[in-house]
Symmetry: C2
Subunit: 353 residues, 2 copies
């Protein structure tokens, strides 16, 4: 295997604790990766050498859909069966939804004293809406640490939830009647990423209607030429949907997985067992159809790109020559002699000459 | 000036129409930049050669604060005084807030038939939460086109609103009582970026309290050692605030600008004139204090970094050698021979050797 960088003593020691299954070793490894501290890449390289092993399930959806409660309910069920589980929760640290999140976290804390479960809340970085590379790397650490299941909870705002596919094998999209109708879900690209739809808080008014709409939309997508219409183009699918014969039969993806629409009530646990069974069914399908291999390859490719991009930037802005050109460039721009584009060109030429 | 790339005929023709002040020329230039089409960098280089001229005002805040209505009211006022104005609205294309945004946009459309105003709505890109480089470049195009004022509206979710400082000279943070209290605003880093606070929908209950809290928080920040506490560290500032003598006097920044807290009601136009006067006062202060120069230099530096990073990635992934290494790497990872880190290292070495 191509070496990444020599393992320093600290990283080697950390790896030993990590491999011994010591939770403080995992926590420390996560800190090293989050802080991109010295040795973090060799750490990840070593931990990932065996390839991914865990069943990775992403849970995404709009704020207020009850994702955290659902993840907590799922984690509790796994623990009742004595399965160890890791949870990575990407928290937007939004000041506006702070209260609601806190409520969910407290529920999470009920199970947080159990050594068979490890929960890591991560802040979204200022510069990123989607999943930071670091977040995906923390999922890898949990996998490499030996958790057979890793749950990844991400709050979807706009299109950021689409990036969950870059971290999870199975994507569960959680909606509630309040989060809008199936057309909105379609426009947002959620049809493309969902392996399983969940309508949570299913006791609320409008949930039966949302379930029906989602099934129709999935059926439409599976059975008609509309499948080829790219998402995010504001197509009036409602109009097209009316022309379709409506049925409640599940849609069938080309590869043979019918995206089911389930209902849950995370607070009363209703439907949670069924959801977990469906996740396992999706897992079996992934393995048998060869899709797991396809998804893992896509993920490996994406990760190579991420790591190369991060390294290019890191190395570039550390070079004295580049820093000098940057400083001079700012002065020249202020003096009206250059623009950021001409200065950037000079820097790129120095880097890639 | 360092050349960026030779101007092709299409770009040269486009530049001519742009310089003649033809709105279709501006619209076309924006499309070229948005699509990163051939020649877009020389276009921006040429347009920006004279440096920034426009007064750039960023308007940010949480969803539902009425930013669009406020921007529409401001734009209308500028037009009544015969000042031309450009508007760049960064729309999250969120399926969940679609309705509210649409309502705002309709109001915007009332003024959209006027040739002295140009409004451009931009989608946030999937991979970015904050302001994409492209968005900042569109602001530059509006500036270079000759709009003396450019308003930039961004929806803040989590910490993404902080990036508005990378595009605007003056940052207006819009809050409503429903968006939380001053402590939340402080934790979210809004105190650091706001040049002017606006409590919109000021007729609603809780607005007087929010105004008072914001003033206290600003005073505290200006007058005490707490200023040095980094944001986002979850410090209980409420506790600290209670110890401070509370006064309604505006806070004073080290540089001499007191961040005011204004109230508006965008729908009835209450307070909008006062806001526009305050924006002009801030402009005068920026110019006289030398802060405008400081901010423009920071922006130039940020832009150089953005453009270099974008170019590095663009050039890197176009090279045949790199694409081959990527493909081989994915196979090797699937076969357990390599990890994304060892493959990335090989690619980086090829690029920067």
């Amino acid at each position: 295997m191509t070496p990444v960088e020599p393992l320093d003593t600290t990283t080697a020691e950390l790896l030993e604790r990590f491999r011994d299954g010591k939770i403080p070793g995992l926590a420390r490894a996560i800190s090293v990766v989050e802080g991109e501290r010295s040795g973090f890449q060799s750490l990840l390289h070593t931990v990932m050498a065996g390839g991914p092993q865990a069943k990775r399930v992403g849970v995404t959806g709009p704020p207020g859909a009850g994702k955290s409660s659902l993840v907590a309910a799922a984690a509790t069920s796994y623990r009742e069966r004595d399965e160890r589980v890791g949870v990575v929760a990407v928290d937007p640290t939004s000041p506006y939804s702070g209260g609601a999140l806190l409520g969910d976290r407290i529920r999470m804390n009920d199970i947080a004293m159990d050594p068979g479960i490890f929960i890591r809340s991560m802040a979204t970085r200022g510069s990123l809406g989607g999943l930071a590379t670091t977040t995906k790397e923390v999922v890898d650490l949990m996998d490499g640490f030996g958790f057979p299941r890793v749950l990844i909870e991400t709050v979807g705002v706009g299109q950021t939830e689409l990036e969950i596919t870059a971290a999870a094998d199975t994507v569960v999209v959680v909606l509630v009647p309040e989060s809008g109708d199936a057309i909105q879900a379609m426009k947002a690209g959620l049809m493309e990423i969902a392996d399983i739809f969940v309508v949570n808080k299913a006791d609320r008014p409008g949930s039966a209607r949302l379930v029906k709409e989602l099934r129709q939309a999935l059926h439409l997508r599976a059975g008609s030429a509309l499948k080829d219409i790219p998402a995010h183009h504001g197509v009036d699918l409602g109009q097209a949907m009316k022309k379709e014969r409506t049925t409640d039969a599940p849609a069938t993806e080309p590869e043979g997985w019918s995206v089911p629409v389930l209902t849950t009530n995370a607070l009363t646990n209703d439907g949670v067992d069924k959801l977990l069974r469906t996740i396992d069914e999706h897992r079996s399908w992934l393995e048998e159809s060869g899709q797991l291999e396809v998804r893992r390859r896509d993920r490996a490719e994406g990760r190579i790109r991420d790591v190369v991009n991060r390294e290019l930037m890191r190395i570039a802005w550390r070079r004295d020559e580049v820093v000098d050109l940057l400083r001079e460039g700012v002065e020249e721009i202020a003096g009206g002699e250059e623009t950021p584009y001409s200065v950037a060109r000079r820097i790129v030429e120095v880097l890639l000459r």
